[in-house]
């Protein structure tokens, strides 16, 4: 291993993420995330976080609304703090806090594409289920908080922006975008290139027709702006991160005899986080909680660095890391602590680590 080899291993892992099969899923995914951010009425979701909403409704909405509301992490924290202090209380607030970053649509799509369909699905189900479990536990541990807070729960809900677009059209629009994504990213084993391009082309024309007749110029501009904003913010960081992951692999290969850059770190850490046992899941979950991972990079860290793609890391710890990773990091721990206080924040962090461990372990038993 020379420095050049190390550089090459960085470039090789970069190449994997710039290849056609990843880009064909990421580019439409950015457009979908942009469309969701601009076109989905956030106000209509926010009203379910009020103090008078029935508990089970708040919990279920909180557990899935991350996909719609939380494309940008800076919107999550004020929203969390508002629900916590003035809205539905600590349970739904922590449910939302966890699920927000965890079921981000970009991350799910990339997980399914790069790491495999099964773990992608497991990630959605795991994140939704886990967010509800954590919310319920938090509210039963800190029941007193909600009682004390019931007096000042007047949340000023913004008025619903009236849109004269029928809901059917909005739904059709999103479905078309998702179809483009699914068909565009489908393996050529299922659909050969030529019909695939044809179908994507026809779908794109349908999308344009809807845009022309039902969306105003300003809205389309906003959609484009939002898509570009997300791409600009996430994609370069992902590429740099992937490159660094490759470099670390290269350096590790230098110190681990008998390995190459694609599996060196995986082999080195396999005794601790590789197996489908409870201890591996626990360590993986702790790593996920502490390590700050920019959006989407957790996929590369699990797949390439720790060797899930190479078959060195099993499904259990991989899922545990994917679950605890995006929702916890040092910067957001600080904000959580400031909003909730040290005690509640510690309990929340502990719950995330423990529940992620168990869900990972169960997944390892079933499918990993």
């Amino acid at each position: 291993m020379t420095p050049i080899d190390i550089l090459i291993s960085g470039l090789e892992s970069l190449q994997e993420y710039l290849s056609a099969h990843v880009l064909t899923c990421l580019i439409p995914a950015f457009f979908i995330a942009g469309a969701i951010a601009v076109f989905v009425s956030k106000q209509s979701i926010l009203k379910y976080f009020g103090a008078k909403t029935k508990r089970y409704i708040s919990y279920s909405i909180a557990s899935v609304s991350g996909a719609v509301l939380a494309v940008c992490s800076c919107t999550v924290l004020p929203l969390f703090a508002s629900i916590y202090k003035r809205g539905a209380g600590i349970g739904p607030a922590t449910t939302f806090l966890f699920s927000g970053p965890a079921i981000n649509i970009l991350a799910i799509i990339l997980t399914a594409r790069v790491l495999g369909f099964d773990i992608g699905i497991a990630r959605i189900i795991g994140a939704v289920g886990m967010s509800i479990i954590i919310g319920l536990l938090m509210s039963s541990i800190f029941r007193k908080h909600d009682k004390e807070n019931q007096k000042n729960n007047m949340l000023a809900l913004p008025e619903d922006q009236k849109s004269n677009r029928p809901i059917k059209v909005s739904l059709l629009f999103l479905i078309l975008l998702i179809l483009i994504l699914v068909i565009g990213a489908a393996s050529t084993d299922y659909i050969p290139w030529i019909p695939k391009l044809g179908i994507v082309y026809i779908l794109t024309i349908f999308v344009s027709i809807i845009l022309i007749f039902y969306y105003s110029r300003d809205e389309i501009k906003q959609w484009g702006g939002e898509t570009w904003f997300l791409t600009k913010k996430i994609f370069p960081v992902l590429l740099i991160g992937v490159f660094i992951v490759g470099i670390i692999g290269g350096i590790a290969a230098f110190y681990t005899p008998g390995s190459d850059p694609s599996n060196a770190v995986g082999i080195a850490v396999a005794p601790y986080i590789g197996g489908n046992n409870i201890l591996s899941c626990f360590f993986a979950s702790i790593i996920g909680a502490i390590l700050y991972m920019p959006t989407l990079l957790e996929v590369a860290i699990v797949g390439d660095l720790f060797g899930y793609s190479a078959g060195i890391m099993s499904g259990g710890p991989a899922l545990a890391l994917l679950l605890s990773g995006p929702s916890l990091s040092l910067p957001n721990m600080i904000v959580i602590t400031r909003v909730m206080g040290v005690k509640k924040a510690l309990v929340y962090i502990l719950l995330v680590v423990v529940v992620a461990t168990f869900i990972g372990f169960i997944y390892g038993l079933i499918g990993g």
Binding site: K42, C74, T75, A81, I83, A156, P158, Q222, F229, R338
Partner: protein, 76 residues
């Protein structure tokens, strides 16, 4: 006129502040633009999603970075 831009300092909130200032300048109106970054204060205004724009105490924009035309329409 008092215009408040609320946001904890993320990219979009900074963009919003810039757009608001530009709109004020282009319209040539007398307005004071204030940035509010403290999370507690943002919540006290009843704002759940940032960036938000408040004009003379009235919440006008919540949860997205406005375009310059949007701001101009509000300020007029």
């Amino acid at each position: 006129m008092k215009i408040e831009v609320l946001g904890p300092g993320c990219a979009k909130c900074k963009a919003t502040e810039k757009i608001v200032k530009k709109a004020v300048e282009e319209l040539g109106i007398q307005a004071e633009v204030v940035k509010i970054e403290d999370l507690q204060e943002i919540i006290d205004r009843g704002v759940m999603m940032t960036p938000a724009v408040i004009v003379d105490g009235e919440v006008k924009i919540v949860g997205h970075a406005p375009t310059i035309d949007e701001i101009k329409k509000i300020l007029k």
